[in-house]
């Protein structure tokens, strides 16, 4: 059967099980949009292509499936770059289809031509310029395979207009076989055993879990491991949700704004067991003071993550689900009294936990504390299978600290790139996947303005996301650093000129609500969660509030600033 490239693309997407794509049309992709007109794939029309990329990313993080975005050439493609880089830094699988000018015009500075492959090379796992319609189906299949396998990541597929128009025989592609790509999946059993033996010798071990745990869908195995070994566990920002907040062995998040207990445990441990984490500088602080008195076991699917920043004594390359299962299998034939072995250590850790939990000074005069809002969001979300997304800054950190999470893929945040403007489109992407769940974006008044236009998308498709703005009238995290490290010289961080978010929500056809006193917070949240429309909540919060604890950049746990 002869089909146009556009039709072949749609068939290929269906073959990959794609049900939703996020995009915005333009010149060179019109043939494809014409084919989409009566295809049975849901297309969500965004208002800015950055939104499409973040939505595909949010969809992926919430579901574990591959997100898909579709944009036109030139400016459409360049608008996705921040979204692609965001996904790349957090290893999120997605495929971004970009239009390209006709093959014979490439390189001529044609109208709306951009070398998107060149521009995105450093922030994609791989990319393709499709040169012949006959290669299209195979290329799409490879793109999804590469995005989803090994260490996942975004893949760009650039589609010249003529490739979309030309008709060729459609051949369903076979299995993907790439001689140059063999992601390591199975952990080496000898290494796993070696790791297990070392764990048995450790006196003060700690589990340091990263986003890889969620990507590998291995959280349930992790919990088994924790339960069997009685080893305290801390997670990075990216792995929040992999261990329920209420788990007795959970130390909370580590790193710059992590808990005292987690950072102390990482400092005092004699064996750091890193699962799918990459020793990022927001976690390690000053490298020459990090992990000085301990051995490191590092399990990761990506060999380049191992011994990149910190040398691992026992490296294990492999998919975490596989390795965790193998590790858990070893408890059976083992007679270690884990409880007794770690009793003292757990007591010490518990003391740290109760000494300095996350806390904040309660409000006086009814001024709203941002942390209070986050706590109440959680309380009122009970039973609604909530998914949280965040923007970037203080609000993101308060969300990380004060949300109660009990499942993976319920906390979606831009950790690696720290992209302001991520939260709202990511929330829309998650909501598109789960129309009946509560999806809340915890936002700052700065970040939310970076992709506020996507409110129109939410309204158009009835994707009833709830945006909770912790409005402090400033670029709060910038202001915090200026207060602490730049002698309160608040250079260009004031946002008190507005806008009026309630009116803005109204203008978009969403619901706008505002609370200015603590006593109003719960009512606003209740109303927002009950109404079946997108809602923007403007919580006017204490401007001077800061995120603590804080290990200043390049510092150590000894430099921690507590409240």
């Amino acid at each position: 059967m002869k089909l146009s490239g556009s039709r072949i693309l749609i068939e290929s997407l269906k073959a990959e099980g794609v049900d939703t794509i996020f995009g915005l049309p333009g010149g060179v992709v019109l043939p494809l949009y014409d084919a989409l007109y009566d295809a049975d794939i849901k297309h969500i029309l965004v208002r800015h292509e950055q939104g499409a990329a973040h939505m595909a990313d949010g969809y992926s993080r919430a579901t574990g499936r591959c997100g898909v975005a579709l944009v036109t050439s030139g400016p459409g493609a360049t608008n996705t770059v921040t979204g692609i880089a965001t996904a790349y830094m957090d290893s999120i699988p997605m495929v971004v289809f970009t239009g390209q000018v006709n093959s014979n015009l490439i390189g001529n500075d044609a109208f709306q031509e951009a070398d998107i492959i060149g521009m995105t090379r450093p922030c994609t796992k791989h990319s393709y310029l499709v040169r012949d319609t006959r290669e299209l189906a195979q290329t799409v299949k490879e793109a999804f395979y590469i995005a989803m396998s090994g260490k996942p990541g975004p893949v760009v597929v650039d589609l010249p207009r003529d490739v979309l128009v030309k008709e060729v025989e459609y051949v369903v592609p076979g299995k993907v076989l790439l001689r140059s790509y063999h992601p390591t999946v199975e952990g080496h059993m000898a290494q796993v055993k070696k790791a297990f033996e070392r764990i048995k010798e450790a006196k003060r071990p700690v589990l340091y879990v990263g986003g890889g745990m969620i990507l590998a869908n291995a959280s349930a195995e992790l919990l088994k491991f924790v339960d069997a070994s009685k080893i305290p566990v801390t997670t990075t920002l990216m792995a929040l949700g992999s261990v329920p907040t209420s788990n007795p062995f959970f130390l909370g998040m580590l790193g710059m704004h992590g808990t005292y207990a987690a950072n102390m445990a990482m400092h005092e441990t004699d064996l750091m067991i890193a699962f799918g984490a990459r020793f990022d500088d927001r976690v390690t602080g000053r490298l020459d003071a990090f992990a000085q008195n301990c051995d490191i076991i590092h399990v990761d699917v990506d060999p380049t993550s191992i011994s990149k920043n910190v040398t691992a004594h026992i490296p294990v390359v492999g998919d975490l689900l596989d390795v965790m299962k193998k590790l858990n299998g070893l408890f059976g034939g083992d007679k270690t009294d884990w409880d007794g072995k770690h009793r003292e250590w757990n007591k010490t850790v518990d003391e740290w936990k109760s000494l300095y939990p996350y806390r904040y000074e309660k409000s006086d005069a009814g001024v709203i504390k941002p942390q209070y809002v986050v706590e109440q969001i959680c309380k009122l979300a009970i039973g609604r299978e909530a998914i949280y997304t965040t923007e970037v800054g203080q609000a993101q950190m308060w969300a990380a600290q004060f949300l109660t999470l009990d499942a993976p893929r319920t906390f979606l945040t831009s950790g690696g790139l720290g992209t302001m403007g991520y939260g709202l489109p990511a929330a829309i992407g998650a909501q598109a996947a789960y129309p009946d769940r509560l999806v809340v974006d915890i936002a700052g008044d700065g970040s939310i303005q970076m992709n506020i236009q996507e409110l129109a998308t939410a309204v158009q498709y009835g994707l009833n996301v709830k945006v909770a703005i912790l409005n402090n009238g400033c670029l709060g995290m910038v202001r915090q650093w200026q207060e602490l490290f730049f002698k309160k010289r608040y250079s260009h961080s004031d946002l008190r000129s507005g806008p009026d978010f309630v009116k803005l929500a109204d203008a978009y056809g969403a619901v706008g609500l505002r609370a200015t006193k603590e006593s109003e917070v719960r009512d606003v949240l209740k109303e927002a969660f009950d109404v079946k429309r997108p809602v923007v909540m403007d919580f006017v919060v204490e401007r001077e509030e800061k995120v603590f604890p804080m290990v200043p950049g390049g510092g150590t746990v000894k430099d921690i600033i507590l409240l």
Binding site: K125, L129, R179, S180, P303
Partner: protein, 165 residues
Amino acid sequence: MRRHTISILVENRFGVLSRVSGLFSGRGYNIESLTVAETNDPQISRMTIVTRGEERVIEQIDKQLNKLIDVIKVMDVTSEDHVERELVLVKINAEEKNREEILRMAEIFRGKVVDVSPKSYTVEITGSESKIQGFLEMVRPLGIQEMSRGGKVAISRGAKLLAPK
């Protein structure tokens, strides 16, 4: 910091050179020389990159290269028994009084004069790094007008092969 010569087999595809060179520039690894050309299998190209770095950096380079989808195989030939060669074309001042000397040097270093003009002789010289350095030192006083170096190529000795699985 040791110098390493790394041989890489890659899919002979659009953009593969920029993926490899971009990896080096993006991560701040240095490149002393880079060569690339097809192998006996036209679908595969071979690159030779000479770089310098601490062991740790070289290990990362190796892993990062392997992570590129189009890279089929990577070998740090420095750790193997191997042969390295470079080809250099040197255009040397050929005033009356120099000519004899240029020919003599070319002969001693087993070079070849490949082009002659009233003002210059162009000598082709092939060999190991030290041989090329030696030649260049000898002819520098005569005046080098222009030089084009091919970058190193390398291959391991004996039975050991760099080949796709």
